[in-house]
């Protein structure tokens, strides 16, 4: 195996008892070259038992912090352990570990952030679900002039400098809006084509009532906050 950068896959898990085994098995079979850590985000189901039973590498966040807090815990861990690359990976089986190497390769080629994107070589469908994605992409384009094909993708790789940035800034949720800030910091952001599947069990973080809140937050942040932040 070739000498490669130390990579950590960060998997936030909130009530993912039914999905997490599949996710980790996928990781162990399709990306055995990288390390992983599961962050249990104060799950109310038996996620913790499942993690313990299987002897997975996990951090037990005993209170619910939300997605951002859980991912940030993982980034702090990555920073402390000296990882070169951190990859944000959903615990619900949406993301496929087979693409991890593609993301790592792009970081090695010199990108700072690599987004596992659904729409590089494939067209974005005109569904209601994607309307939000288009709106966010348009806002990012307006502010930075850059095109992000899949801004809402939660499958991303970050290099060492970005890990530090995301780990210690309380205003850096790994969401589309902070991409604007990273562009302003002259970071190189690249997208690679991946396939994603629908989640099998349980509810997504982003359920329907939260969508309006999420969109408002993203648009206000992209248009009115990120462009004015100190770089």
């Amino acid at each position: 195996m070739k000498d490669q950068l130390k990579t950590l896959v960060v998997i936030p898990a909130y009530n993912e008892a039914l999905n997490i085994e599949k996710t980790i098995t996928d990781l162990q079979t399709n990306a055995p070259q990288v390390d992983y850590v599961v962050i249990n985000d104060g799950s109310k189901d038996n996620t913790l038992e499942v993690l313990e039973k299987n002897g997975y590498n996990y951090i037990n966040g005993f209170l619910n912090q939300g997605l951002f807090g859980a991912v940030q815990t993982g980034f702090k861990y990555a920073y402390e352990k000296g990882y070169d690359i951190a990859i944000q990976f959903d615990g619900d089986g949406q993301h496929s570990a087979a693409y991890i190497q593609d993301l790592v390769d792009e970081i090695e080629k010199g990108s700072n952030i690599v987004i596992g994107s659904r729409f590089v070589s494939e067209k974005k469908p005109w569904t209601a679900r994607m309307a939000g994605s288009r709106l966010i992409a348009a806002a990012i384009k307006l502010v930075t002039g850059k095109t992000v094909l899949d801004p809402t993708s939660g499958f991303r790789a970050y290099d060492k400098a970005c890990i530090k940035e995301y780990a210690f800034d309380s205003n850096m949720p790994p969401e589309p809006d902070t991409l604007v800030y990273m562009y302003r910091k002259k970071k190189k952001i690249k997208e690679v084509q991946v396939q994603m599947s629908e989640r099998e069990f349980g509810e997504s973080y982003l359920n329907l009532p939260n969508t309006v809140k999420y969109m408002t937050r993203m648009l206000v942040s992209i248009l009115l906050i990120q462009p004015f932040r100190k770089v």
Binding site: F62, L63, S221, L224, I225, K230
Partner: protein, 122 residues
């Protein structure tokens, strides 16, 4: 609404808007919490540039004057803000309590383990 009052209103809401943005820029407020304030200051800007909006709504709802309506609007906004802040504080209290308890338990376990180890040594 007189032109002078409108001017005061425009300047005040512009200053509010700039102040909010500046504070966020200096990391005074996290993005999550600043959204409400930004939306509110945008609303104030719109209303001060187009007072017809508040005049129309105030007439439609039966207020004696638009300024009354604006006063009520402010009080309502502040009321909601105080209420949501209170909810937030309650949540934080609960989480802080959980954290203290969890840490005390961990400290207890560590102390017990250390005592056990020192006894074994002796």
């Amino acid at each position: 609404m007189g032109i002078r009052l409108q001017l005061v209103f425009i300047i005040a809401s512009l200053l509010t808007f700039v102040y909010v943005i500046l504070r966020i820029r200096k990391h005074g407020l996290n993005i999550e919490d600043s959204i409400t304030w930004i939306l509110w200051s945008i609303l104030l800007l719109i209303v001060s540039f187009f007072p017809q909006i508040s005049i129309f709504v105030s007439n439609a709802l039966g207020f004696i004057s638009p300024s009354n309506f604006i006063l009520v609007l402010f009080i309502f906004f502040l009321y909601i803000m105080v209420f949501t802040q209170n909810i937030e504080i309650s949540k934080l209290k609960g989480k802080q309590q959980d954290l203290i308890q969890k840490l005390s338990l961990i400290e207890h376990d560590q102390r017990a383990a250390a005592e056990k180890a020192s006894k074994e040594e002796a």
